[in-house]
């Protein structure tokens, strides 16, 4: 279980999260909705261990272990994954090189043998076609010159490649066309079927039509102000966040 307990987060001395609590069990999909600036991305980065985001109170537990003090790579090794809202460009590093470096680092930390070049290539090309990315995509530099949609597809592709225990997906739906949205949603569902927990952060409810999450939370000003079922998402779709 990924368990967030009374989490208070500061960035550059300013409090952004003011006590967030949430439990995500294996196989569950949780959605967090909220207006811009409500602290959704802060939560995502804090969960992954971005050093800019200081935990001033509360804790994050991954399978009952407090991971507050762990670095991002150590969290990744324990099965946490973050799809970035704004994926970073790594100049001069090809997608294939990046995936290979990440995959072997992850597997090493998990005590697994690294995939050989052929295994990795095969897995990569299968997943590329899942998100209708061209084979030549692996020779492009990471996120450099990618369209908004390509960036999100690449995040989804990494999610699939690394099959994390818990995936935090920060606006993975933005910039995707309808077909791509369906593909990404299918990949998320598949991940859940394999008992991974998913936290999807969005400010649009479109992807939720495909995912039908049983747990929907509304975040306003650094707090979860309401939690409910899929009905809550429908309500927000109609009325917006004004009523909260």
């Amino acid at each position: 279980m990924l368990s967030i307990k009374d989490l208070h987060i500061e960035v550059n001395g300013t409090q952004i999260l003011a006590g967030v609590g949430l439990d995500i069990k294996p196989g569950e999909i949780h959605a967090i909705l909220g207006p811009n600036g409500s602290g959704k991305s802060t939560l995502a980065h804090a969960l992954m261990g971005n050093p800019k985001y200081k935990v001033v109170k509360g804790k994050i537990e991954l399978d009952r272990k407090n991971i507050n003090g762990l670095k991002a790579n150590e969290r990744a090794a324990r099965g946490l994954f973050l799809a970035f809202q704004q994926p970073k460009e790594i100049t001069g590093v090809r997608v294939a090189t990046f995936i290979q470096a990440a995959s072997s680092a992850l597997r090493k930390a998990q005590g697994k043998k690294p995939l050989n070049a052929i295994e990795l290539r095969t897995a990569l090309s299968e997943n590329l076609s899942k998100f209708s990315l061209e084979p030549g995509f692996i020779n492009r530099n990471v996120n450099e010159g990618f369209s908004g949609g390509e960036k999100k597809k690449f995040e989804a592709l990494q999610m699939v490649m690394f099959s994390p225990k818990y995936a935090i997906l920060d606006e993975i739906d933005s910039g995707l066309d309808i077909d791509a949205l369906k593909n990404v949603a299918a990949a998320i569902k598949k991940l859940c079927k394999r008992k991974s927990g998913v936290l999807i952060i969005t400010h649009s409810t479109k992807i939720l039509h495909y995912l039908k999450p049983k747990h929907v939370h509304v975040m306003i000003k650094g707090k979860i102000v309401m939690s409910g079922g899929s009905g809550l998402a429908e309500k927000i779709e109609k009325k917006g966040f004004k009523s909260f």
């Binding site: 261990g49 790579n73 990744a76 970073k88 100049t91 001069g92 470096a101």
Partner: protein
């Protein structure tokens, strides 16, 4: 030419060991330190040189004594000219075209550096210099038949005296600066390449320069003549083991690219931390000719190196690609010089530097577009990456444009690795070190990808960032 990671690890281990350790050097016990007219005459006599060369050496020595030390650049005050051995022959050996005849310890060093292996695999020809003299030189038969000449400079002077005289120090004169003058006086060894008109050598030629003994000076002279519409490439590698007392490397490279010719000169210089690397490299490019400089500097205590392209003919082009890595107690003062002396000439300079553990790098550029060089364009891009707070990088770009109808641009950046990029990589499972290594490799990728594969792989690993 794919090599497994394990093989590579072994090779890098062996390479590092070789780079740091020296062979016995009993042969220098009688070698004299310091400079004198007598020494110059003795070198010239030993080499049995023609009178014009002896005179050139002696004139250069006079110039050396008169010239001041450079007024810019890194601190080279630790260099004492009286404490350097200017000429040493590694025993009674002769330059050979068979590795079998190279003395065992020297041969072993070059094997560890991968020279004979590379020669077998992909080179058109290979040379190996040890201290002041070449111990091996060979051009594949195929290229000899086309009239290509690939010799060590001393042999070339004997075999092709007129050709050498026509070009020797005609691109860089002893009057240029103090170290050019010193070079003219004490030069020994180096490479001579001649590619006849229309001949395209599609495999690279390579020479490796190794200093072995303490307090050595190495002053190899390289001349490359690229005929009309001819094409070729040449790779130089350099290294030396580490000693307490300073060593000096002041080589010179002169390249002449004739009309429509094109040449790529690559070098990876990995001198030890006690070496002052004060090099002069220059090319004169005729109409529609192309020169490409690919350089990697990662060793030495202080390097001053600014390859220069003189674009003499209309439509001539120069590409300068360089990377410098400055670690603790190192200053890499490198850059490029381009003179646009004819219309429609083009130059591009891309430099990348990485500084770590208090190392310091300087990009020093000088691009001149002369009056009359209409339609010319010059583009400079230099980026520095600082891996900590105690390292330094500086950019000193000079541009002197005397013509209106031209395009000139300059971009520069100095910075540390962005935290958010580091976090992105780490969120994917990479440790901080692995993430830094990956980002650094990406940073120098534009240069590395132009280097010969084996050098590129080794360069990455030798920097010990990843």
């Amino acid at each position: 030419m794919k090599i497994s990671k394990l093989q590579l690890d072994d090779r890098i281990k062996a390479l590092k060991k070789t780079l740091q350790s020296a062979n016995p050097s009993g042969y220098i016990t009688n070698a004299k330190k310091g400079l004198s007219r007598g020494l110059i005459e003795a070198i010239s006599k030993e080499k049995n040189e023609p009178a014009w060369m002896t005179e050139l050496r002696l004139r250069s020595l006079e110039t050396f004594f008169k010239k001041p030390m450079p007024s810019f650049g890194p601190d080279i005050s630790g260099l004492n000219f009286e404490e350097i051995i200017y000429y040493a022959k590694p025993g009674e050996i002769l330059n050979s075209n068979s590795w079998e005849n190279v003395p065992a310890d020297i041969k072993k060093t070059f094997e560890r550096l991968g020279i004979p292996q590379a020669e077998r695999k992909y080179l058109a020809g290979a040379g190996a210099q040890y201290e002041s003299e070449n111990v091996y030189h060979r051009l594949k038969e195929k290229w000899a038949k086309f009239g290509v000449i690939f010799e060590d400079m001393d042999s070339a002077l004997k075999l092709y005296p007129d050709l050498v005289r026509q070009y020797f120090m005609k691109c860089v004169s002893a009057n240029d600066h103090k170290f050019a003058a010193l070079h003219g006086a004490v030069w020994s060894g180096g490479t001579f390449i001649y590619i006849p008109n229309g001949v395209k050598v599609d495999q690279p030629l390579q020479a490796y320069f190794r200093m072995n003994a303490s307090s050595m000076g190495q002053f190899e002279h390289t001349i490359i003549i690229v005929g009309e519409n001819a094409k070729g490439s040449y790779i130089e590698g350099c290294s030396a083991p580490k000693y307490e007392s300073p060593s000096l490397h002041a080589g010179m490279v002169e390249i002449f690219v004739k009309e429509g010719g094109s040449f790529r000169y690559s070098s990876v210089e990995n001198w030890s931390l006690n070496t002052y690397n004060l090099n002069t490299k220059r090319a004169i490019v005729e109409k529609n000719g192309t020169i490409e400089w690919i350089g990697g500097n990662l060793g030495s205590k202080a390097t001053m190196l600014y390859p220069c392209s003189i674009l003499k003919g209309e439509g001539a082009r120069a590409n300068h690609l360089g990377m410098a890595y400055a670690n603790k107690n190192q200053t890499q003062d490198t850059g490029a010089k381009v003179i646009h002396a004819a219309p429609n000439t083009t130059s591009e300079i891309i430099m990348k530097s990485i500084c770590k553990n208090g190392g310091s790098s300087v990009y020093r550029g000088d691009v001149k577009i002369l009056k009359g060089a209409k339609g010319s364009s010059a583009h400079i891009k230099c980026d520095s990456l600082l891996l900590d707070d105690i390292s330094h990088a500086q950019t000193i770009p000079e541009m002197d444009v005397k013509e209106n109808d031209v395009f000139a641009s300059h971009e520069a950046s100095v910075g540390k690795i962005a935290e958010d990029k580091l976090f992105y990589c780490m969120s994917r499972g990479m440790s901080e070190e692995e993430a830094v290594g990956l980002i650094v490799n990406g940073f120098i990728e534009p240069i590395i990808k132009e280097m010969p594969l084996e050098y590129a792989v080794e360069l990455n690993r030798l920097m010990e960032i990843s």
